[in-house]
């Protein structure tokens, strides 16, 4: 496998621990947008200025002055292969924009892969902290400490009135985007999802698909996050997200209970059918596998598939993505070859388990 630790396994170490409410919330994420004082944002920086920012941050990561973050790996995106970049995106450690469009891009990763700091994306720094399950408040607490650690070594662009200055005015103020990744199959099956999502957008939150902005909601996975960053404190923003997420969790669980009570046979049939297809299919595309894995995840939470556990599903969610499949294979694959490899991988994993 690759020289970088992150390419060795699909499941990031932090995802292995499991977290609260993990039957509905897969993960919680905090992202802070920060810029350095007196330097043009990446958008208007000259190649030399961007390279300087990258060098400064790479040096900082290697200097040991960020000791509070544990062992770190500082990576220049230009040194990565296309497949390695795809793997990082699929593991949510960098954004598609950093992989494809940014100049002098870099990323600082903690060894548990729960902290990833993107350099020269839209802003000079994008500090990302990830936790398993529903832990937005806890994640904010330690993300803020990581932010302090950077600020001890760097001078941020900050304005008394507007707060942290960011390239896009939709991030100005706190620069905070707090989000939870939710699996909401029962709300989708019972046709309640649109009502709930539109209610969510009315209370200042945004809903996106698995890979963030512009991505489709596949496999019934929805990312819910705060919409605005100015005018509310971090605690208020987190609190709002916390409360709304709590309600969605309750609604999803209630819908699952009702499904089980009112149509047990039908839901069990749906789940076990998907399990059968995943265990025996020879070809499966990414869309179908996302849907079948979602059925299986629902089944696991309802106790209908004792052979499988959440962690295996979390791993498959990443390892069946196009980049990871090709990386595991050791080279490029056509879409048809990928679909066959994907089916093979899922078959093996499920056979091992049960």
């Amino acid at each position: 496998m690759g020289k970088h630790a992150f390419t060795r396994q699909a499941l990031s170490p932090w995802m292995k621990e499991g977290g609260p409410e993990s039957d509905v919330v897969l993960s919680s994420r905090i992202r802070l947008a920060r810029n350095l004082r007196n330097r043009p944002f990446p958008l208007r920086a000259t190649p030399a200025q961007s390279a300087e920012v990258l060098d400064q941050l790479m040096d900082l990561a290697e200097s040991g002055r960020l000791g509070g973050m544990g062992p770190l790996e500082a990576i220049r995106v230009d040194d990565l292969t296309d497949l390695e970049k795809m793997v990082l995106v699929e593991k949510h450690l960098i954004s598609p924009a950093l992989a494809n469009e940014s100049r002098s891009a870099g990323v600082i990763l903690s060894n548990r892969e729960n902290i990833s700091v993107m350099i020269n994306e839209e802003d000079h720094l994008r500090i990302q902290c990830l936790s398993p399950g529903f832990q937005v408040r806890e994640t904010w607490d330690w993300a803020s400490k990581i932010d302090d650690l950077f600020e001890e070594n760097l001078e941020y662009a900050f304005d008394e009135k507007l707060g942290y200055l960011t390239s896009c005015p939709t991030n100005v103020g706190t620069g905070l985007r707090a989000s939870v990744m939710m699996h909401l199959p029962a709300l989708v099956i019972t046709g309640q999802i649109n009502r709930i999502l539109s209610a969510v957008t009315q209370v200042g939150l945004a809903v996106r698909g698995l890979y963030g902005e512009g991505s489709e909601a596949t496999g019934n996975l929805f990312q819910v996050s705060n919409q605005t960053t100015l005018g509310q404190s971090e605690t208020e923003i987190i609190d709002n997200l916390y409360r709304v997420t709590r309600q969605i969790i309750d609604q999803e669980r209630e819908a699952r209970r009702r499904l089980l009570a009112e149509s047990r046979l039908r839901i069990a049939d749906r789940v076990r059918r998907s399990y059968g297809i995943l265990r025996y299919a020879e070809i499966i595309d990414s869309k179908e596998s996302a849907q079948r894995l979602s059925d299986l995840r629902l089944g696991v939470s309802l106790g209908l598939v004792p052979e499988v556990n959440e962690q295996m599903l979390n791993e498959l969610l990443v390892s069946t993505q196009p980049g990871f499949l090709q990386h595991t294979h050791g080279g490029a694959l056509s879409p048809e070859q990928r679909d066959a490899k994907r089916a093979e991988l899922i078959r093996r994993r499920l056979a091992d388990a049960g």
Binding site: S144, P169, P335
Partner: protein, 166 residues
């Protein structure tokens, strides 16, 4: 128009990308867009926040030359460039375009003033001022609770901080 990728199907998706002022256009069909999109999930399509933002800006009719073009002295960005990209070029753009920014912030943000975290260094005295405000609120509460011991401690701390910032 025919798709640039396959050269067969009609192009139904049209992208304009501006990177550091350099404009590039892409006209492709849906099948090829999906193919490209699969390379890295989340890219190659979708309506981004920046597209949306530029729709919310107040635009003057074409810059006629009668009015001087509003341009950021630090990074050289003009307001119309900002309108197209939806992102600022540097921290000073916030000052340069302040007048036009305000109505937009009102629409896309919850408020106009930052009330959250203040960095230790860049925040300077402001951090202390915020701390004093917070302690004053606490002081008020402890007086209401008739917890005079805490109130006295808070009062001393406030005086100390006030001396610090002069």
């Amino acid at each position: 128009m025919i798709c640039q990728e396959c050269g067969k199907r009609p192009a139904t998706l049209h992208f304009t990308k501006i990177v550091n002022g350099e404009k590039s256009e892409l006209h492709i069909c849906e099948a090829c867009a999906r193919e490209r999109g699969e390379i890295i999930p989340g890219t190659g399509g979708g309506f981004s926040i920046h597209n949306l933002l530029s729709g919310l800006l107040d635009f003057e009719p074409a810059e006629t030359g009668i009015k001087p073009v509003l341009r950021c002295e630090t990074c050289g960005m003009t307001y119309s460039q900002f309108g197209k990209i939806g992102r600022f070029g540097c921290a000073d753009c916030y000052r340069t375009f302040a007048d036009r920014l305000e109505p937009m912030l009102k629409r896309v943000q919850g408020g106009k003033v930052h009330v959250g975290k203040v960095p230790r260094r860049a925040g300077g005295k402001m951090r202390t001022k915020r701390e004093i405000e917070r302690l004053r609120r606490e002081l008020q509460l402890s007086v209401e609770r008739e917890d005079f011991e805490t109130a006295a401690r808070l009062r001393d701390r406030i005086r100390e901080l006030e001396r610090e910032i002069g």
